[in-house]
């Protein structure tokens, strides 16, 4: 290692450089911990809240020509707390007794819905190269250098100043007001609330408003860094927040604050010293190029996986873990066999009908869409396994699919391997990666598992993808990777209809396997684990092994689907298909419809690919009305995210999925009515005798 003279000055410079972003991270971490501790919500929508404020600020400043202060007041002091208040009042207050995982899912749904809702309501859309300036004019170009070591830009100083003021304000609130005192009590020991008679509704409302305010502030401060104002960039903020909060082990606000500051400085140090080391150690080079932006993910993953304290205390990480979950509705378990079979037959007939219509009547576009829907359904079966069966939320299914797709590309491109063989190899590789990932990650369980998979997805996105043996290097990433269609004996699948048949066959086979797994010992074991890990262990189930199997299976299915998607589109197209934020939407879709059944996955696939064309573009209505469409069509495709994002809020109440819940309730209703009728008939027969 080269640690020559002048290192001391470099360290100091890095520390100074890292302090302003560190202060913003601290702000973010504080906001995150506030809501986590007061209502047990791991708020993944935090970044979405930051985005909305930043976009509002931009809209007011640039589009409407407001000056800084009113724009800031509107975006950060009015809109942000309002969003926080609404989230608490309308949603999370009613989920207080829900499990931590279902609250996490709700937050994910909101993170998908909020930005699109804002964009559709205000007509905002991110434009490349047009970002709002900072809070002060020329913030990025005027420098001050008080110590003669590191010149601070105006923006940095403003960020630092604002963060310090906000933290002092929070400190004062906690110290000098009774509400602050109550909040501190709740934050330090959530279970105290009930005992001490604190008005927890009020406390959590205020906590949410404050948290949202911090999110908005951080969003506005951080926006000048991005080239385009887009929601996914702000999603990184959440990861930063969680990383900083996790460094402080989520136990207290001061520690979260230090965690944020430390993270900022750590990244600056890294940025200073890594380039020097990589002169000597060339294998570090790709890391050097890509690690800096993804540092928070790496830190987060490292903290989660390597820090034994977090690993060993999953219960401590979840402040409400002692609270009993609400009783499951009986509807979720009772299911009449006959009606289930009838529904299944109906489903298959319906699919056949759709298939035949598309086959004979559909044009290229519809064949394409249906093929995509089928492949997405296949990918979503991976969620059926990991979430529906094993009860774990994995946020890296997109990464597994990407591994499949990239394997197909690499094998076909370098060694001319048949793409179908390559897709199977991709599934195997994804399974191996999934199994390996499961070793450190699955011991975490619950929300920590979800967060670790998210960190892994971002890590892959930011670092692994840049290696030429993974992502094919930078240029191919931009242009996409060419992937050929397969030829199998006499059949050339370059023909879209033939390829559709192939895809349907693959989907059917995998569906049958998934059902067999669900009905077999593996499924029984996983359902047991989901129901009660404690009890499952006590009868000899090894949770680690069972979950590793589930993870590997799920990854394999996602990998296979990803490979097929690449073959279908003749292109890997990572940026459109497989990014971590795109994969968040997958989870939202599947849990909204049903993560428990194969039909749920199929419906989610259809919704993913067809909802836009059939509903939002009005093709479905046009078909019914023979071409007459009301004037407000076509609707924005963003409604997809809004509708399904908001619908996933229902997950906390109906973990089997909204549609599935409705179906089951209907079947139970029909069932009881039939039974009642039978009873009446038989009691008439027996003339008052005993019924069956």
């Amino acid at each position: 290692m080269v640690l020559a003279a002048g290192t001391g000055a470099d360290v100091l410079r890095a520390v100074l450089q890292g302090t302003p972003p560190g202060a913003v991270y601290a702000l973010v971490a504080l906001g995150f911990v506030l809501t986590y501790k007061t209502s047990g919500v791991f708020n993944l929508a935090f970044g979405a809240q930051a985005f909305v404020s930043a976009a509002m600020y931009f809209q007011a400043r640039v589009e409407w020509g407001w000056s800084t202060v009113p724009a800031l007041v509107l975006a950060v002091f009015v809109l942000a707390p309002l969003i926080g208040l609404l989230m608490e009042r309308l949603i999370f207050r009613h989920l207080r007794t829900a499990s931590a995982v279902s609250k996490l899912v709700v937050a994910i749904g909101l993170s998908v819905a909020l930005p699109s809702l804002f964009e559709t309501l205000t007509g905002f859309s991110g434009v490349a190269g047009k970002t709002p300036g900072g809070l002060v004019p020329d913030g990025a170009n005027v420098f001050y250098d008080p110590l003669g070591v590191y010149p601070f830009s105006r923006d940095e100083l403003v960020a630092l100043g604002v963060a310090v003021v906000a933290m002092l304000g929070l400190g004062a609130l906690f110290r000098f007001t009774s509400l602050g005192l109550a909040m501190r009590a709740v934050v330090e020991s959530p279970r105290m609330t009930e005992l001490a008679g604190i008005d927890s509704d009020r406390v959590s409302s205020v906590a949410w408003m404050l948290s949202s305010f911090f999110a908005g502030m951080a969003g506005v401060l951080i926006a000048p860094r991005f080239n385009t104002l887009m929601a996914p960039d702000f999603f990184h903020l959440v990861v930063v927040a969680i990383a900083a909060a996790a460094i402080g082990r989520l136990v207290s606000l001061p520690r979260a604050l230090l965690g944020g500051l430390g993270l900022g400085i750590f990244i600056a140090l890294f940025r200073t010293f890594l380039p020097r080391w990589s002169v000597d150690l060339p294998w570090l080079e790709p890391f050097q190029d890509n690690l800096t932006p993804s540092m928070p993910f790496v830190v987060l993953f490292g903290v989660l996986v390597l820090w034994p304290a977090i690993r060993r205390s999953p219960a401590a990480a979840d402040p409400l873990s002692g609270v009993d979950p609400p009783p499951l509705s009986l509807v979720s378990t009772t299911r009449s066999k006959v009606l289930t079979r009838a529904a299944r037959v109906f489903g298959v007939c319906f699919l056949l009908l759709v298939g035949l219509t598309v086959w004979f009547r559909g044009d290229v576009v519809w064949v394409h869409l249906v093929t995509q829907a089928t492949i997405m359904s296949l990918i979503f079966l991976s969620v059926t396994i990991i979430t529906g069966l094993a009860g774990q939320i994995s946020l890296c299914q997109g990464t597994f699919a990407a591994i499949g797709a990239l394997t197909v590309f690499q094998l076909a491109d370098r060694w001319d391997v048949s793409v179908l063989v390559a897709a199977l190899v991709g599934a195997v590789i994804a399974a191996v990666v999934g199994a390996l990932l499961s070793i450190p990650v699955l011991r975490l369980g619950g929300i920590w598992l979800a967060i670790a998979t998210l960190a892994f997805a971002f890590f892959f996105d930011a670092v692994m993808l840049k290696f030429s043996w993974v992502g094919g290097g930078d240029s191919s990433l931009l242009q996409g990777h060419r992937v050929p269609r397969p030829v199998l004996g006499p059949w050339d699948f370059a023909d879209d209809r033939r390829f559709l048949v192939l895809v349907v066959v693959v989907f059917t086979v995998v569906s049958v396997l998934v059902i067999r797994i669900r009905e077999g010992t593996t499924g029984l074991t996983l359902r047991g684990l989901r129901g009660s890990e404690l009890a499952a262990e006590s009868i000899g189930v090894s949770p680690a092994r069972a979950r590793m199997v589930a993870f590997a299976l799920s990854a394999a299915i996602a990998g296979l689907g990803g490979g097929l998607l690449a073959i279908h589109q003749e292109n890997v197209n990572y940026g459109n298909n497989f990014t971590p934020t795109a994969a968040l939407f997958w989870v939202v879709l599947v849990v909204t419809l049903s993560a428990r059944t194969v039909e749920g996955a199929a419906q989610a696939g259809a919704a993913f690919s067809l909802f836009n064309a059939v509903i939002l573009q009005g093709a479905g209505l046009a078909w019914i009305t023979r071409g007459h469409l009301p004037g407000f069509f076509p609707l924005s495709p963003k409604w997809r995210f809004v509708l399904f994002g908001l619908a996933s809020i229902q997950f906390a109440r109906h973990p089997e999925g909204l549609v599935e819940h409705g179906k089951r309730r209907a079947t139970v209703g029909i069932d009881t009515r039939l039974a009642a009728r039978r009873e009446r008939a038989s009691s008439q027969d027996a003339n008052g005798g005993e019924g069956p």
């Binding site: 979720s332 009772t334 067999r516 029984l524 074991t525 009660s532 009890a535 262990e537 000899g540």
Partner: protein, 258 residues
């Protein structure tokens, strides 16, 4: 013949609270042993240490004379320790029969993924017979196809017992099986427990608040108070012991119920 189960010098504290202090305890094969003590005495903590849900700070846990202290929970369970829970732990979303079926499959170690993939994962006649036997024994035959959410607490506790029985334990740790049950249900449960134990001959370590149940079911009893063992011996003698009555029963007459 070696002792079936033995714990020596088990100690456990939770950030200052000393839940267990040097607890040593022995259960012979087929024996019915009680473990009593007031709330918070450390009984559940002891069970957790035995099965590995908690790591004791010190002490050894022996099964068949072998130290099992280093094994994870599921390995200990497979060596023949079954357990029921004070706060009932059933598999949400599963039927009564599935609870037993899962335990049976795990015991036989036939969780092969390949079997499932080839569609051989369904239940066979042998399994069903074994499940039915236990269901009959516990009087749960009519409820086999019901989801556990539909059961009463007493029935739920029976399912827990049945699930533990399917693993064919040599030692059953029963944690307050009567808690939350009324007199009638408790008596029914006791009768069932006695019958099943007589039938299968496994050893039982019973943690119980219900004095009648302990007095009628167990042969020997240990008394735990604030983490210390304060008495042990034949149940009748222990129950008559002055110290025990002072520490534990207070003024309550033995046998007068709660």
């Amino acid at each position: 013949m070696t002792t079936l189960f033995e714990a020596t010098g088990v100690r456990k504290s939770f950030s200052g609270i000393r839940a267990l202090e040097d607890v040593s305890l022995r259960v012979e094969a087929g024996e019915r042993v009680g473990l009593i003590g007031p709330n918070g005495a450390g009984k559940t903590t002891f069970f957790n240490c035995v099965l590995g849900m908690l790591r004791p700070d010190a002490g050894r846990v022996l099964l068949d004379g072998q130290d099992i202290g280093g094994l994870p929970v599921h390995r200990r369970a497979r060596r023949g320790i079954g357990r029921t829970f004070q706060r009932i732990e059933l598999f949400a979303d599963m039927t009564v029969r599935e609870h037993l079926l899962l335990a049976d499959r795990i015991r036989r170690g036939e969780g092969s993924l390949l079997r499932d993939l080839f569609g051989r994962g369904g239940s066979d006649a042998d399994e069903r017979r074994r499940c039915d036997e236990v269901l009959e024994l516990l009087g749960l035959g009519d409820l086999a196809a019901d989801p556990v959410e539909a059961l009463s607490l007493g029935q739920g506790r029976l399912v827990e017992v049945g699930r533990a029985l399917m693993t064919e334990p040599r030692l059953l740790l029963a944690d307050e099986p009567s808690s939350g049950l009324d007199r009638e249900e408790t008596d029914a449960l006791a009768a069932t427990l006695r019958e099943v134990q007589g039938d299968r001959g496994f050893a039982v370590l019973l943690v119980e608040h219900d004095v009648e149940l302990v007095a009628s079911f167990t042969e020997r009893t240990y008394v735990l108070d604030f983490g210390h063992l304060i008495a042990e011996g034949p149940t009748a003698e222990v129950m008559a012991d002055k110290r025990v009555r002072q520490a534990y029963f207070g003024d309550v007459e033995v046998g007068s119920g709660s």
